[in-house]
C-alpha cells in the first residue's frame, strides 16, 4: 500500500491511498484503502489521513474518520488523536498497521503499531525526512 497526504499554500488538505491488497487474497476481497473514512479521509477542519496495514481492522475501527472526529468533537491534537486510535483502540482490536496524517495547522503524525513502516515527510522550511521501520 502507498499513500500521501498534503496541506497546500491555500490551507486545503487532501489524502490519497492505493494498494494491490494482500498477497493471496481471495473472493474479491477489498481492504480499507478505497473505503472513505476507514483508509482515507480528508477534512479541512481537521486533517488528512492515509492508512496502511491489516485492512479488515481499519474498516471495523473506521480509523481515519475516528481520528478526525476526535479532533473535531473532542478537541484533541492530531498526534493525540492518532496515537489514541493506532496505539490503543486499533492495537487492542488486534489490528496491525499505521497512518500518515497532516492537520490543518501543518502538524504531521505518522504512528504505527506494526514492526515497520516505510514513510517520508517534508514540511516547508524544514529538511525532508525519510525513514524505514522502527
Amino acid at each position: 500500500t502507498v499513500g500521501a497526504v498534503a496541506l497546500d499554500k491555500h490551507g486545503n488538505l487532501a489524502a490519497a491511498t492505493s494498494t494491490g491488497g494482500m498477497t493471496n487474497k481471495n473472493f474479491n476481497r477489498i481492504g480499507d484503502t478505497p473505503v472513505i473514512g476507514a483508509g482515507t479521509y480528508a477534512n479541512n477542519h481537521t486533517c488528512a489521513i492515509s492508512c496502511t496495514g491489516h485492512g479488515e481492522y481499519f474498516i471495523r475501527a473506521v480509523v481515519a474518520y475516528d481520528i478526525s472526529c476526535l479532533m473535531e468533537y473532542k478537541g484533541l491534537s492530531l498526534n493525540q488523536a492518532a496515537d489514541l486510535v493506532i496505539h490503543d483502540k486499533l492495537k487492542h482490536m488486534g489490528g496491525e498497521g499505521g497512518i500518515i496524517a497532516v492537520s490543518a495547522d501543518g502538524e504531521i503524525a505518522m504512528p504505527f503499531n506494526s514492526e515497520g513502516m516505510y514513510r517520508a515527510s517534508w514540511v516547508e522550511g524544514q529538511a525532508p525526512h525519510v525513514a524505514i521501520y522502527k
Partner: protein
Amino acid sequence: MEKPFALALHGGAGTITRALLTPEMDMAYKASLEEALSIGHHLLSTGHSALEAVEAAVVSLEDNPLFNAGRGSVFNKRGRHEMDASIMCGKTLAAGAVAGVRNVKNPIQLASQVLHHSDHVFLCMQGAEEFARKQGLVFETDEYFYTQQRYEQWQQLRDSNVYMLDHSDELKDKKFG
C-alpha cells in the same frame, strides 16, 4: 495569505528482517520515497493544490515495482492483480474510490477521475474499468505488473488460506471472512 505547506507519504506496512533488507534495498526504498516526496513538494511549492500533489506522489509510488500498488501489486489467490485506490479533497469533502480493478496502470488516477467526473463516489471491478476506458486512462498488460519477488511470495502461499501484508516475511495463519 499563503500558509506553510506540508506533505507526508508512506510505502506500506509490515515486517521484514534486517537480514532481508540489504543495504542496496534500503537505498532503493529510500530513493523511491525521496523521489515521490520531491514530486509532491515541487507541486506544492509552485502553488498547486494538495489534491494534485497527493495524486502525483502516489502515481510515482504506483509506477515503482518496489511498492505494493500499481506496478508492484501483489498476486491474489488466482495469480492476478486486483487493485484498490481512493482520494479525498478536504475542502469540498469530494471523494473518489475504486476497488478490484485490473490492468489499470494508475488506479489513483482512476479514483481521481471518479472524484472529478462522476456522480458517484465508489466504483468497482469491470464497471470501474469501463469508466477508466471512457476517461482515456492507460491500461497495461499482466506482464507489466509481474515482479519476481511478489511472484515468489505468492508461490509460498498459493495452496493455502494464508495471506500476507505488504512487506511481511512471516505468515499469518488466518482466513478472511
